[in-house]
Every structure is written in C-alpha cells, then in structure tokens.
Amino acid sequence: MKNETPRYSAFSLARRGLSGKPWPPAWRAHELRPSYDVVIIGGGVHGLATAHYLAANHDITNVAVLDKGYIGGGGSGRNTAILRSNYLTPEGIAFYDRSLTLYRHLAADLNFNVMFSQRGHMTLAHNDSSLRTMRWRAEVNKLCGVDSDVIDPNEIAKLVPRMDVSSEARYPILGALWHPPGGIIRHDAVVWGYARGADRRGVHIHQNTEVVGVDAIDDRVTGVRTSRGPVSASVVVNCTAGWSSLVSDMAGVEMPVQTFPLQAAVTEPVQPFLDPVVVSGTLHVYVSQTDRGELVFGASVDPFPSYSTGGSLEFIEGLAGHVLQLMPSLHRLRLLRQWAGLCDMTPDYSPIMGLTPVDGFYVDVGWGTYGFKAGPVSGEQMAACIATGRTPELIAPFSLSRFADGHLVGEKGAAAVGH
C-alpha cells in the first residue's frame, strides 16, 4: 500500500490553506508484521536514509525501521548540524564529499525543505603544528577535488569581523583552513524528509519498538525480538549509533566502540552577525549562528564514557570561557539551554560499515561526533550493500575487519573537535 502523499509546493500550500483540509501525516503508524525482508534497528538519519534508498534505488520495500523511542530522538535530533567534506584521509574525503553532493540535491529529491545553508566552514590554527595539519589537509582536499584552502588572519577578519585576530589574544590565531562548501542544515527536517520518503514507498516505521534480542542460527541472522513481539527477517541492520555495541552484542558481534556523551548549548537569538561555522581545535570549541539568530556552541566529547545524557556545569563553564577568547564581544549573551547526545566512538574516528561475521547482520555505526553529515551517503551505500550482498568501493575502507588487519583510517586530526 503506497501512501498518497501530496507534493509539498507553494501551490499545494495555498490550496490546503484555502480549503482548510488537514494535511495527511508525513509517515504513518502500522501493525508490526511477523516478518519483513529487511529490519533496520534505529530511526535516526542513518536508519531512515538506508530504508529510503533501499526502496527508492533498489525497489526493496518490505522493510521495517524500528526505534525504541521516536525517530530523530538520538544523535540525529541533537547534533549541531555541521556538514563538510574537508577530512584528512583520501578515503574519508571521497566518502564525505559524496554525502555533500547528495545533501545539495536533497530538498528537491525528497520534496522536503531541509534548509541546507552552504555558508562556509573555518577551522582556526593557533599554533604551528595545527597550521601544518591544515596545510596537509588543504593539499589532500585539493587533490581530491574538494574546495579547501589555508587563509591568513586578515582574510579571517574579513569573513568574521567579531573575531579577535590580534596577537594579544591568549592563543593568537595564525591562520585557518577555509572550506566554502561546508555549512549547516535543519537536522530534524532531514530525518522527517527521509521518513516521509521511505513511508510513501511502503516502508513501515515503528516507533516505541525496542529490539531486545537478535536471533541467529549457525551464524546466519533469522530475526529480532522486540518489545512488541518477534519479527523474522533475513537481513538485520544495526543503525543505533550510541547504543550500537549493545545491539551488536545481541548478535554476538564484537565491536571496538565506546559510548561517550557529547554536549552542546545554544544562546538567546541576536541579530545576524556570524556567517561561517567557526571551529577551534586548540580551544575545543565551535560556533555557528542559526537562521533564527541563536548561537550554537559545541565542543569535544565528555572525558569518560556514559549512557547518561545529563549536562554538566563543567562543560558550559569551559565552553563559555573559550568562546569569549575567540569573540570577546559576546560576553553579555545568555545561554538558553544545553543538552547531550550519545556518540559511538571508534579508535580511528572513522565509521564501521557493511558486513559482519554473522551472515545477514549488517552494521552502519561508529558515527561518533561526525555522523550526521554522512547520513545520505551511508544510506545510499548501505542500501547498495544490502541489495547486492557486496561491499561498495566507497565504504570498503570502513569494514569491521580493518581492526584485525591493522588498516585503520585515522581521522582524529580532522574530526576530534570539528564534527
């Protein structure tokens, strides 16, 4: 049964507005079937994008997305929505750049306004060693066809007039990596757009449905047990980010993943004054201004693993101090709120994607603090991987087996603070 979703357009908006007819829901609730071809665990951007592309690109529509809470209730609804592709390794750059390409067309593809704003992404260097890493990144980026360059303090001051680029600063700014195609997006809209795209093609989205067990016979997956009963499936995909090692444990698959909270905070709205996204690795902080005028602040993960999403005073104290070193004129701005999400950190700051030793059990995890930007490409590639049973070239470097082979994809230099 396909959903007769009306196209969203100025015309349909006017017509609905005048007729007063309510909009049909963008995705629907269903009875849980006893069996699906593919069960995806986790209704964040990764699970929903995988479901969407399975249906849209491969015509596989007997698919369920199960979430223990509500869709977008994990990292996908808590992140700071920074998109960029100026990573450090050629594997990482090719992968994230494909995602940026998909993001650029996403609003049209999904018929859903995702508000992608390519306002530029700036990573500051406060010492020689970070400037050296920026040069290295810029050169690798250029060779991979990504728009990326090192700029000097004068150019920084032109792009961000409020920034303290003087040599009197506690940590003077020596230069920056400048990446014009980077920017921010409306993260909830991306989640809802993929949910609507999957739903209208026949995918079942089940919220409040927790997976409590994964069944396998002779290392071949047969289904899952949920809080609403068992579901059989020959393909089960783990897209549960911060909870992913718990789900892989259910299938008996060991993963080098540790769960760390990541906090963020937002201020009261003010007049627009900050265009690009600004990141400082040395000060462990980044800043962007939303379309509503709020400043969004983020930092590195909490110093120890946890499944608790409580915020800490230490975090905002440190954050505020560091922000003021960058932009002293913000000292009277008030914070509105802070929050945390769970991040599935891997030893090399790169994801774990594709097949596992258990036949039919796939993983799309290890998204750490940087996985929102990878939603579209991961969905596209995981869908291809499931449809063909083979690992696509773009995600081959991120296989679980790399930890045994020693082929790690070290992205720490490009992903520890600037997500």
Binding site: M255, P256, F304, P305, S306, E314, F403, A404
Partner: protein, 94 residues
C-alpha cells in the same frame, strides 16, 4: 557524576580525575594471538550498567583508583585503591 570518592582524599569533583579506561588484563606477549591482541587494544565491554574502570586522581593525590560505576546513571557503586587490592581473579594486575 559530580564527585568521585577518592580512597585517599575523600569525595572530590570528577574534573580532578583522569579517566583511565575499563580495567582489562594485559595478555602475555609471549603467547598472545593477534586476535586476542586486537581485542586487548580496541574492544571494550561498553556496557549500559555497572562497569569496573581505572581512574587517576590527577589533580589530587596522583594515585590510581578502581571505580565501579553505573554508566546509565553515573552512580558510583564501589571504589578501591588500585594495585594489590585490585587484583583480578586471574591474578594479573590491571
């Protein structure tokens, strides 16, 4: 978790401590297989619930402690001095 009870110094703010990781035994380098070594390097239990881990009271007495903590609430369940008292059942020091 706001405070960690250091066995030597008493309750202190967690920011005084450095997290040392889940307490795992180092395999014997002479007999270990590559798979076991990989697990020792990278694989952790990462439970949602009680976990035993090593911490260092970095900005205090600078001694190591073993903490049992519930990762869902950050509640500290038990603390002891690292070292002799922290022997694992196999007899190896963590």
């Amino acid at each position: 978790m706001i405070t960690l009870p250091c066995p030597w110094c008493g309750p202190r703010n967690v920011t005084e401590f450095a997290y040392g990781g889940e307490t795992v035994a180092r395999p014997d380098a002479a007999t270990v297989t590559p798979a076991e070594w990989r697990a020792y390097l990278y694989v952790r239990a990462n439970p949602a619930g009680p976990v035993t881990e090593t911490w260092l009271h970095r900005a205090g007495c600078r001694r190591y402690l073993v903490v049992e903590r519930d990762t869902t609430s950050n509640e500290v369940l038990a603390v002891r001095r690292a070292g002799r008292a922290a022997k694992t059942p196999t007899g190896q020091h963590p």
